[in-house]
Symmetry: C2
Subunit: 198 residues, 2 copies
C-alpha cells in the first residue's frame, strides 16, 4: 500500500491545515498516512530557511492566506496568542502517544487545541488533558515525553537529510512535497505509486 509520510510541527499553521486533509487525501488514493512529528525550528536552523513572519509583508499576507484555506476546507482557524508556539513538549508527547498507538488522535487533538480552540499547548496541564481526551493517562504521557527527545531529533534530522526545508513536508517515497497547497500533487503521486504496485 502506498504511504503518505506527513512531517508536521504543531507550531506550523500550514501543518494544521494539512492535518485536516491528509487522511482524506490518502483514503482517496487508496493509501495510508504515516504521521511524523518533527521540529520546524530545527529544520530552519539546519537549512538556513526561516519563518514567513520574519518578513513582515509576508507575515501579514500569511494571515489572509490561512483564512482563505480554512474557508476552503471548512475548518476553523484562530491564530494563537503566542507565535511561534513552543511546541517541542507537545511533539515529544505525540511520540509518546505513538508508543501507545495513539499518535494520530492525540496529534489531531493538539492541532485543534492550538489552532481552533486557542489553548496553550506549551502547557503540561493542557497536554495531559488532551492525552486524557484520547484515552491515555495524561500525566503519564507528559512524564514519558522527555524520553522521546532523541527520537524527535532523529526524525527531524532524517527529514532534513531527505530534503525538507519547511512544514508540512510530505513524502511519497522520496518525492517531496512542501505545504498543504501541494497535497494535490502528493495525491497524484500516491495514485501513481499505487498503480505501479499493482
Amino acid at each position: 500500500m502506498a504511504t503518505l509520510e506527513y512531517f508536521f510541527d504543531f507550531t506550523s499553521p500550514y501543518s494544521y491545515l494539512a492535518s485536516t486533509q491528509v487522511e482524506a487525501v490518502a483514503a482517496r488514493a487508496g493509501a495510508t498516512v504515516r504521521w511524523r512529528p518533527f521540529v520546524l525550528g530545527g529544520v530552519f536552523k539546519a537549512t538556513g530557511n526561516r519563518s514567513p513572519i520574519e518578513t513582515p509583508a509576508k507575515g501579514r499576507h500569511m494571515l489572509v492566506d490561512l483564512d482563505r484555506w480554512a474557508r476552503r476546507y471548512g475548518v476553523p482557524l484562530v491564530f494563537p496568542a503566542t507565535f511561534p508556539i513552543p511546541s517541542v513538549l507537545a511533539l515529544r508527547c505525540a511520540l509518546a502517544a505513538g508508543a501507545q498507538g495513539r499518535l494520530v488522535p492525540f496529534s489531531q487533538a493538539v492541532f485543534r487545541a492550538a489552532w481552533a480552540e486557542r489553548r496553550d499547548i506549551a502547557s503540561a496541564e493542557v497536554l495531559a488533558e488532551l492525552g486524557a481526551r484520547v484515552g491515555l493517562d495524561g500525566e503519564a504521557l507528559v512524564a514519558a515525553a522527555p524520553a522521546q527527545k532523541e527520537a524527535l531529533a532523529r526524525q527531524t534530522g532524517e527529514a532534513v537529510e531527505r530534503g525538507a526545508f519547511g512544514a508540512p513536508a510530505l513524502f511519497v517515497g522520496e518525492e517531496l512535497f512542501v505545504g498543504n497547497d501541494r497535497l494535490d500533487f502528493a495525491e497524484a503521486a500516491l495514485r501513481q505509486s499505487a498503480a505501479a504496485a499493482r
Copy 2:
C-alpha cells in the same frame, strides 16, 4: 468588468507559469488582465524577502516543483543558463511596448524566450528580435527602454505599498494573491467581484 492585476518579473519562474494561465483564468471569470511589469529584486530589497534559491534545499526543491507545475499546465519550462536573470532591460522594453499597445504579446514572447527557448533576454539584440516578432520596430523599442526607468520603479513601489513581497503578485481590487499556485483563489475573487458589480 473585474480586473486581475498581474505584477510580474521575467526572472521569476512562477511568474512565467502564471503568464501561461492568467488570460484563461480571467476569461473564465469574465474579467480582464492588467499586465504590470515590476522588479522583483526591488521588491525583495524593500520588504526584506529573498529568493528561494538563497536557501539551497528550497532552491533544489523549486526545480522539482516547477517541473510539476509545467507538466500540469502542459507548458515547456527549461531553466535558464543564468539565474536570476538580469531582467530590468526587458521589463523596461515591456513598458515601452505597452506605450505602443503591445505589452501583452511582447511580454509573452519574452517569457517564452527566457523559460522555453533558453534565450538570453538580458541581450538588447534578443529583445529587439522579440519586439520585431510582435510587430514592433525592435531597435526603436530597445532605444525607448531607458525612458521607462522611472515608470518601472514607480510600478514596483506601488506593488510593495499594496503589500506585495514576491512574484507573481496578483490583485483583485486590494486583495493580494502571491504565486501561480493562488490563481484559483484569485479566480474565485474575480467571480465574486464580477457578481457584486452586476
